[in-house]
């Protein structure tokens, strides 16, 4: 473990780098030309993906539940936003509505989790994922079916349109910062402790007064709301949506991101999303081999470090010294080697 002060410094440094990423710094003597249009777009996509993955991390990594439906919630958010923006509503309202809609549907999806766990739960969410995709595809009158919805305009902020990629990138970055802080707050609060207890031993948690049913529903609702909010940003980012990105495959990918990044580790989703969104860009030269490389990477990772990349990082960093039990243990009649 690194010390909290160092961690904050790293976070601040990372945030600064993200803010500066699209800016040409050669003018002030730093040999960094700044991201181009496409690079900025990909970075925005990474942030949006990370928001949705954060939700999965709450559900799977912290609360110990399963979800193979996050892309469906991203879809709910994306369609709600697209429809509302096209109908002339302000983006802010559409953004909130997307979160609320996903939160509400998330609660409903949480109910099966009160009865089943583990892979049974995974299958329930998988079925929901398929159902949602069928609705996106077949309810043409609402969603435009396979033709999708086009020309989704980007929001304006204080009269300033965010049509340019870099403006929208900063906008998404700011929202990501707020959502990241909110989740960090939840996880470090007594709620986060209750979610962890839910993961580690629900029966014991219940016997200690933790309302396991309520926290299960809350985990699903909040985690799914993050999916909805990500979708709300995704729609104006790509400016055209159809059912494909919200199908089962992408839902599996979200789960994979969380596992690869490090389930139950706060930075895990950012790392996992980077692997899923940025790595393919860097591996472009490999073309068709990209998926092969990716698959081998994941398999190796799972075999040798099931705690994900963040877990690996923690292992490689020097362990923080802790007072050991050995000195005083014999007093309690414990002979600990």
């Amino acid at each position: 473990m690194i010390s909290p002060r160092l961690a904050w410094l790293l976070v601040a440094l990372g945030a600064l780098m993200l803010v500066l990423a699209p800016i040409d710094l050669t003018g002030i003597g730093i040999p960094y030309p700044g991201l181009k249009r496409y690079g900025t777009y990909i970075m925005t996509l990474w942030l949006v993906t990370a928001i949705a993955a954060m939700g999965v991390n709450l559900i799977v990594g912290y609360a110990g539940l399963e979800t193979l439906a996050q892309a469906a919630f991203v879809g709910i958010g994306a369609y709600v936003t697209a429809l509302m923006v096209k109908a002339g509503w302000p983006f802010g309202l559409a953004f909130l509505a997307s979160g609320v809609a996903a939160f509400a549907v998330g609660i409903m999806l949480g109910f099966p989790a009160l009865r089943v766990r583990k892979h049974y739960l995974a299958f329930v969410t998988l079925a929901f994922s398929v159902l949602a995709w069928l609705v996106f595809r077949n309810e043409q009158w609402l969603t435009g079916g396979v033709m999708g919805i086009g020309d989704i305009s980007r929001p304006t902020l204080f009269g300033h349109t965010l049509r340019r990629h870099v403006d929208f990138y900063w906008f998404v970055l700011a929202i990501t910062a707020v959502l990241t802080f909110a989740l960090w707050w939840i996880i470090r609060s007594p709620w986060g402790r209750a979610f962890t207890a839910l993961r580690e031993n629900p029966i014991r948690a219940e016997s200690l007064g933790v309302d396991v049913r309520l926290y299960t529903l809350l985990a699903f609702a909040i985690g799914s709301a993050y999916g909805g909010l990500a979708g709300s940003l995704y729609a104006p980012l790509v400016e055209f949506i159809d059912p494909n990105p919200f199908a089962l495959g992408p839902s599996l990918l979200f789960m994979l991101m969380v596992v690869v990044g490090g389930a139950g580790r706060f930075a895990g989703p950012f790392v996992g999303a980077a692997v899923a969104v940025l790595l393919p860009e860097w591996l472009r030269f490999a073309e068709g081999f990209y998926l092969l490389i990716y698959a081998v990477l994941v398999m190796t990772m799972m075999a040798f470090c099931p705690t994900g990349i963040m877990g690996l990082a923690e292992r490689l960093l020097p362990a923080r010294r802790r007072p050991t039990a050995a000195a005083t243990a014999p007093l309690l009649g414990e002979a600990k080697p």
Binding site: I186, R188, S189, P190, W191, R193, A194, T196, A197, E200, N201, I203, R204, A205, E206, S207, L208, G209, V210, D211, V212, R213, L214, R322, P323, T324, A325, A327, T328, A329, L331, L332, G333, E334, K336
Partner: protein, 247 residues
């Protein structure tokens, strides 16, 4: 004086196995009641029925004269009843201190208040006192999963006291705990009982431990109460001796 806990004709069957067959008893305030009986006599099942982990086939449970049958374990816990389980039940990936804070936090303020309030739900000092009380001071920031079995057992018991319960049901608190620690556990339980007037029901196989700790003992065999009384009398009861040595 009404009893803190009244158990009335509780029965529980698993298919053809009649684990508990009509058990009734009262527990009064400040009492330490022991429950003993051979393996499989239905002691743990009885606890699970009292505390809502299992739905009894029939019977009724009253707390302060109020029927609480059908309430969920978390609801019962918030009424001031806590328990330990026969098998170790700590949260291995939380630290000792976090385990204790968790054990008390749901009793502090409103749920929304806890989200926006202090990280330790205002229980940090209480957790540290409990850690000292159970002499786990040097382990406060260790993950509970890394503790020795006996230490985890102490933590498990400590957790049951975090919310300041009025009634505590302990299922084999001494199981797997070595002699030195056993003495310290007994002394801790007696101290809490003296200081807070908390009422205890203790399932235990360790006779010396039970005899020294409890003021009254109930003996279960094959799901029924076969004897009840003061430790010394129960120990001499021929029915009890037969239940343990018979078959």
């Amino acid at each position: 004086m009404t009893a803190v806990l009244e158990v009335r004709d509780i029965a529980k069957s698993f298919g053809g196995v009649h684990a508990v067959q009509g058990v009734s008893f009262d527990v009064h305030e400040g009492e330490i009641l022991g429950i003993i009986g051979p393996n499989g006599s239905g002691k743990s099942t009885l606890f699970n029925c009292i505390l809502g982990q299992l739905a009894p086939t029939r019977g009724e449970v009253r707390i302060d004269g109020r029927n609480v049958s059908g309430k969920r374990p978390s609801e019962l816990n918030r009424l001031g009843i806590s328990r330990t389980f026969q098998l170790l039940q700590v949260f291995p990936q939380l630290t000792v201190r976090e385990n204790l804070i968790l054990a008390g936090q749901e009793h502090k303020g409103s749920r929304l208040g806890r989200l926006f309030g202090a990280r330790d739900a205002g229980l940090g000092a209480a957790a540290d006192r409990m850690i000292d009380f159970f002499r786990l001071g040097h382990l406060a920031h260790e993950n509970a999963g890394g503790l020795s079995y006996g230490q985890q057992k102490l933590l498990d018991a400590a957790m049951a006291f975090m919310a300041g319960p009025r009634l505590v049901l302990l299922d084999e608190p001494a199981g797997g705990v070595n002699l030195t620690m056993l003495a310290s556990l007994k002394e801790r339980l007696q101290a809490i009982n003296r200081e807070t007037r908390a009422t205890f029901v203790v399932i235990e196989h360790n006779m010396e431990f039970v005899m020294a700790l409890c003021s009254r003992i109930i003996v279960l065999a094959e799901g029924r109460i076969i004897a009840e009384g003061e430790p010394a009398a129960v120990r001499r009861d021929p029915k009890v001796i037969e239940a343990y040595l018979g078959h």
